[in-house]
């Protein structure tokens, strides 16, 4: 058993952990990052899932990477190279023309819808700007607030007022409603509505009719405000992103230790003072930051006995039921989708024929069943980045919904059945794709939980519904990145603002740590 000392120890080398570590290291602190897996990056990972075939095994696009974080950490110089930028979103269809979304432009719909979509897009961009202001800071305390909280509150209030009366009224309304109604209010084309609502429900335990789904949509479209008109595909898969964050961290002086699993957080005198590793080694540090999801952090790493009982109950009540499965196919050739132009094949493809189909698919998840006709977001990265597969072969990566974390029949027996349903659905849209499959892998939320250590296999580390968002995130008592345990902070997707490769949670957390350490 050895004992290491550091100023700060970060548990988990997910991108937020690395971002947080980088900022703290730049401030002159000695920072050590512990990672269970062999590679840093967390769910920004590339993995060979079949011989010669590599895939982004967690997230597969960059959609909302915060430009300030990217710039400050010089990610591009650390190896983050896009294979394709501003991908279009294509809603596939079995009859007629697919709907193609490209920034404010949309093809395959009536002129009325085209102009409706443009104004919808522009308004959401204005909303995204406000949201960006909310995301780029620790949200203020509302009652027990200090001058900093009051100032922050005024700035946020001002950003809302600045929207103007009409927009502000709209935002106060749509922030709470469902994407189903909003899409119906704006558009005629069922396919367009479906495409819009997919962005409201991806990764969430929600159907288009669930209130709060507009929030999900806005969240996903934060990138619009950053000037990206669509997702970015990264060369070498998302593992490159993880590696770039790690490289940035290392260049800032952070030590990243992989294959090093934290067993528990050491608590002495009511403070977090370090981390015990599974091999018995101890790392001591005055500040412990967890990039692990809040539920696992408090339940397993800290342990409820070190916390107040009421807070433990809040942690238990934090909802983490993932519903998104990940499909990876090694393909013999490029699949041919019905009615799809060859030049769109490398874009972001949706199989979601209508909002009602998405809703029906979701219905099953409520009762612990997978969707017999799932909806999905598909990427064929090899179109832009042939390095991921042997020559002439392709990789298909898809986020498939809905697959409840707790499947009634159990994932052991359910996985193969669901994979069959997923392939059937794909085969309807890309006839013959089944024959092209060389290898197929389906990761259920339970598998994702194991692979990335995320409770419930939820890529936001916990449902991103309004009651678990903003200043309620992850739970009262642990918002603002600090926790009831002095010396322990959260910096991951479970903290405000949530999941997706943004880097904001890590950056905000670093800011809070520095502020509190300076105050102490």
């Amino acid at each position: 058993m050895t004992e290491t000392r550091a100023d700060v120890v970060v548990i988990g080398a997910g991108h937020n952990g690395l971002v947080c570590a980088s900022y703290l290291a730049r401030s002159g602190r000695r920072v050590l990052v512990l990672e269970t897996n062999a590679q840093p990056g967390g769910a920004a990972a590339t993995r060979e899932f079949a011989e010669g075939f590599k895939v982004s095994s967690g997230a597969h696009f960059l959609t909302q990477l915060n430009p300030a974080v990217a710039k400050e950490l010089a990610l591009e110089s650390h190896g983050l190279v896009p294979a394709a930028r501003n991908l279009r979103t294509v809603a596939l269809t079995l009859d007629g023309e697919p709907v193609v979304l490209d920034g404010a432009r949309v093809q395959g719909v009536s002129p009325v819808d085209q102009s409706a979509y443009r104004s919808f897009f522009e308004q959401n961009k204005r909303f995204a700007k406000v949201l960006d202001g909310f995301f780029n800071r620790p949200l203020p305390r509302l009652v027990e607030r200090g001058w900093r909280d009051s100032l922050s509150l005024m700035q946020l209030g001002w950003s809302l007022k600045r929207l103007g009366k009409e927009d502000m009224q709209d935002l106060l309304r749509v922030g709470l409603v469902n994407i189903y109604d909003v899409a119906n209010e704006h558009f005629e084309s069922p396919l367009l509505k479906a495409a819009v609502s997919m962005d409201g429900v991806l990764g969430s335990h929600m159907g288009p009719r669930s209130p709060n789904t507009v929030y999900g949509y806005l969240y996903r479209h934060l990138g619009d405000y950053y000037g990206m008109t669509g997702p970015t595909l990264v060369r070498g898969g998302m593992g490159t992103v993880g590696a770039a964050f790690a490289a940035a961290a290392q260049s800032a002086g952070v030590e990243v230790r992989c294959n090093t699993a934290a067993a528990e957080i050491v608590v002495e005198g009511g403070r977090a003072v370090g981390v015990t590793l599974t091999n018995g080694d101890v790392v001591r540090a005055s500040t412990v930051i967890s990039n692990v999801d809040p539920k696992s952090t408090f339940q397993s790493l800290v342990g409820y006995p070190h916390l107040d009982a009421g807070f433990a109950r809040r942690v238990e009540n934090f909802r983490t039921r993932g519903v998104a499965a990940k499909l990876h196919l090694a393909l013999d050739g490029l699949p041919a989708f019905e009615n799809l132009d060859g030049d769109c094949i490398g874009d972001r493809l949706f199989i979601a024929p209508s909002m009602d189909d998405i809703e029906t698919a979701f219905n099953h998840a409520k009762y612990g069943e997978f969707s017999p006709e799932p909806v999905m977001e598909i990427s064929i990265p090899t179109v832009h980045d042939p390095s991921l597969a042997p020559e002439g072969k392709h990789v298909l990566s898809a986020i498939v919904q809905f697959a409840p974390y707790r499947l009634k029949q159990g994932w052991e027996s359910g996985r193969a059945v669901f994979l069959e349903a997923v392939l059937d659905q794909l085969d309807r849209y890309a006839p013959g794709i089944k024959q092209q499959v060389i290898a197929a892998e389906l990761s259920s939320p339970a598998d994702l939980e194991k692979e990335f250590g995320m409770a419930g296999g939820h890529w936001h580390h916990g449902e991103l519904s309004l009651d678990q968002a903003l200043m309620m995130r992850p739970m009262p008592g642990a918002h603002q990145y600090s926790t009831p345990l002095p010396g322990l902070y959260l910096c991951g997707a479970g903290a405000h603002p949530g999941g997706g490769v943004m880097g904001v949670a890590g950056r905000n957390a670093a800011r809070v740590v520095m502020r509190e350490e300076n105050a102490a």
Binding site: V267, P305, H306, D308, A309, A312, R313
Partner: protein, 403 residues
Amino acid sequence: MNSVIPREIAQKRLLETPFAPRVKAACEVNDWYMWAGYTTPNSYEDVGLEYFAARNGTGVFDLSPMTKYRISGPDTEAYLNRLMVRDIRKIGEGRVGYTVWCDDEGMVHDDGTLFHLGKNDWRLCAQERCMDWLWCSALGFDVNIEDETADVAALAVQGPTSCATLRKMGFEGLQDLKPFGLARFPFGDGNNGGEVLVSRTGYTGDLGYELWLEPRHALDLWDALFAAGREYMIRPMGSKALGIARIEAGFIMAWEDFVPAEQVVRHGRGRSPFELGLDWLVDFDKGQFTGRTALLEEKKRGSRYRFVRLDVEGNKPATHSFILNARGKTVGHVTSAAWCPTAKSNIALASLQMPWGRDTDDLFAEIYYTRELHWTRVLAPCKVMHGPAFDPPRRRATPAANY
């Protein structure tokens, strides 16, 4: 933990304690109230006689409706220490401890007595149900918590002759039991034999014991007790008499002197242990317990209230009175009050607002009373007392004498 209670019990309008046949027979004035669903007497015959039985002879109070939880399992000690504000490791096996427990904000949920029955085997007795909080606190601990309220019959046997009565009944050696000690005595015989657990505890502030047993022995015990006590001025007592005795002894009571934290609807109406005068219970050195952070903060920042025992001039009980200072400002209110016949004092328990509660030189209780439809308002001067109004040496003397 998904336990249920039987339909027959659930569907009864009122529950009866195992002593019900005797209690009913003894309750001559038919003055009943409901305590946790059980029919319980306010008084049996005459509140004064009942009160003096507990101060002069032996008063017997049926406390079977008291909630009783059995806590066991490998993590029991760690669990209880995280639950309670005091260091329960200091309650040895075979001992009982008074304790309170708090929510995250450091507000008192309830108070009760904790019985250390054996290794990893404890019993918690409290006036109010608190299972929800006990379970919540059990997250992360390997403990088993059972509600044994209906499985344990209980009698409080209180007063100067209580030891003599119990010895006469056959509990020889009881006199050597120290305050807050536990002892077991066989009771009944043959196949029907059992055991009575005796704790030297009570709610009267006098020499006294509490008896815990299986319900099937309840009636036999009652009969044996009253037979033995005949020469020792034994008498059953209702809650009114007990209420006077507890105010005299300066004990607090849930819903009177504080509102259980989880039942508080209006933010800020809870009370911390410091605000109930229970500073001596709080142990910051023992490690984590729920409310520790908040209570440390309170210690640093100062409390909002101060809890005091007041000696009020005159003989009109200051029930529900406001407390005013010399300048006529309302600085607090009385939570419980009674004329206490043994101490011959007019006692009030009161909650004073800080910072005014610090200066207690000139306090007045605003008392309203009526005589033949004529209402009078008096401002009765009060003195803050140090210690309870009644605290006789016999309460602690060991061996206990036959007073």
